[in-house]
Point group: none
Chain length 208, copies 4
Amino acid sequence: MKTPTRKPRENRERILAAIREAAIAEFSQNGLKGTSTQAIAARAGLTKPQLHYYIKGKEELYEELLLSVMSDWKGMFDAGSTDPGKVLGDYIRSKIDQAFDKPEVSRIFTREVLDGGHNLEKFWPESRQRTQEKVNIINGWIARGLMKPVDPHVLLMSIWSMTQFYADSAVQVRQLVSPGQPGWQPDREALVRELCALLLRGCGIRTP
Amino acid sequence: MKTPTRKPRENRERILAAIREAAIAEFSQNGLKGTSTQAIAARAGLTKPQLHYYIKGKEELYEELLLSVMSDWKGMFDAGSTDPGKVLGDYIRSKIDQAFDKPEVSRIFTREVLDGGHNLEKFWPESRQRTQEKVNIINGWIARGLMKPVDPHVLLMSIWSMTQFYADSAVQVRQLVSPGQPGWQPDREALVRELCALLLRGCGIRTP
Amino acid sequence: MKTPTRKPRENRERILAAIREAAIAEFSQNGLKGTSTQAIAARAGLTKPQLHYYIKGKEELYEELLLSVMSDWKGMFDAGSTDPGKVLGDYIRSKIDQAFDKPEVSRIFTREVLDGGHNLEKFWPESRQRTQEKVNIINGWIARGLMKPVDPHVLLMSIWSMTQFYADSAVQVRQLVSPGQPGWQPDREALVRELCALLLRGCGIRTP
Amino acid sequence: MKTPTRKPRENRERILAAIREAAIAEFSQNGLKGTSTQAIAARAGLTKPQLHYYIKGKEELYEELLLSVMSDWKGMFDAGSTDPGKVLGDYIRSKIDQAFDKPEVSRIFTREVLDGGHNLEKFWPESRQRTQEKVNIINGWIARGLMKPVDPHVLLMSIWSMTQFYADSAVQVRQLVSPGQPGWQPDREALVRELCALLLRGCGIRTP
DNA sequence: GATGAATGAGGGTTCATTCAT
DNA sequence: TATGAATGAACCCTCATTCAT
């Protein structure tokens, strides 16, 4: 009569969700090696053996998380429109949204890359292909005179890093921009506007 | 009688340099927690107790290293000229040079920021001040009509992240750009040119 | 309503049999300590708690099994005949049959002896008595001149170990006898014949 | 000034010897899985981490021990003489000596075989070859009429198991032979004599 | 009867650091 | 200075068993 446990399925799902949340927080803060199952368990309100009842191991949990992280980025570069300004603008917005809403997720990825990206090996082929598709689209725009001849790879990596920055280096941002003072605040809307302006102008894309 | 040990001072310096070099490599690859003193000692050609004879502790060594890392970035934004294009271009080049030549140093910093930047606390005030100076300079350029009204903070962070990216995400770059194929290669000169073009145009700075 | 469960008694017996079979296989392969209840449960098609519903504990299950193993050896040395050759020959055949047909059972016993035989304590008195009876019979044969004066204990232990070997050391046998080649194969009939010839001749027992 | 530790080399060797002795005792009693490093460490008078300072791991230690066990058996079957009775008699004596003097070592091997012998894989080829040599020698004796036509493999395995028995089943022997009473005692000399008589007569080898 | 969940103990191993020499 | 040795804590994981449903 301690805990009702009426619906086992639901309970399991709830616990698993708690584990995932805890793991994201821990991995994001301390990395794969730096995170102890102890910490994940504690944060999820479980004991260590309990945790192992639900997951297979630390690495497996990490990889599963990494997979869900990767899937979050799919389809962000939506080439539905023929307007370069709209496509790139939407891309920037999506990435900034993700950086503001789920910064931990971004950090897990950055950390993994910093660690050598060995757990990402299985994702590279697909990522490579998707990158190539984007490159082709941008080259098409250039060919049609819709934008200046910018190296597509450099452009894509620039957008990636500029937006990722607001997730990974949130601390840095907060510290460098007169904290607690009426100075600049990383306001999401203003930021998106500024980044778009900077980049679209840089590409020579005319905006309405 | 094994080793002459003629000049203790010199010897000590040489060993300390070896330790620093080894530590940079290890910390850069595995982070603070992920690095074992064993690994540092081995890479520096010492035994573990030997290492502890020269350093105070892992954390202390790390902090000392972080300090030297930070000093590398001082003076990169050289406002000696009145030409915004030259100042920003030089800044970009310096950062890219550093990213290509000392990527480990960059990675240690990024990792620290990812970890929360607690060991950077003492550096924030100075960094903040230097950032403010740069912001003022840029605002001056804007006031004098030398460039479009771009948010200086966003601009600085963009340059920072875009350049840093080539150090931190070297793996990603290599993997995403059709490796081993005649595709795009991260050539330093071309890269600097592209980044300058993109950013200066984005700021509305006319280049000769 | 999932499973009919028509005859609970029968079902229980069937499950218990499955457990015993699974346990024999596991204990025989991995020993008492090396076997996990998990493994037994899995092999018997049960969950761990289910298994614990039917058994009292791992050790208890083991002891119960050991008991049934011991009973298999009763009456193998059948002194019904007055012909030493026949009695010993039948004994050898029974033991080889058991070694070939139920090697796991043999192995559980050998393992237990290797472990110190603490769980066999209750069986020793009876075994001792049965051994003494056999010794007396053999001494009788010797007294009547039916065989050479061989130490009965040594003879019995020799037969025991020589036959047991083909159960316990099946791997060794297979590996040492040119595997996969047209060399010697552990053929049961030939083996019994050879062992009988060797031993009976060794005892100076004339065979028809 | 706690412990002299004057000669590091010597000390290390002494500790390693203690570890090996402890490990033999433990592995012999509880097998690879059943033995805890804790137990080995305790028996050797060390703490667990201390133990790991000297060995690489439990499995490695086990394999090293197994290797030394195997080498103990090399050259026991000394075919220096042309007298079958002497060769086999010496073989039996060597094996019985080893069974009485180092029973634990024998048990480690038997246990390994019982476990499937996976750690012995690398030894099989050599063992196979040595077995073949012995088989050839015995076949030579038979061809020259020095002994009856006994299957050499069966003979060798019989000798092996009969002698091994006194190491592996020491408990059984002690329990089955009226313990504490003036009955039969496993006296080494008598045992060797009995076994030789039994086997040589079984092979039809005339002894002086 | 069967199932999800919990628990406490222990297993193997690695680590940062310090001692005594 | 430099080395063998020690130490105590922590880490990841598995196990046998039991509880409540």
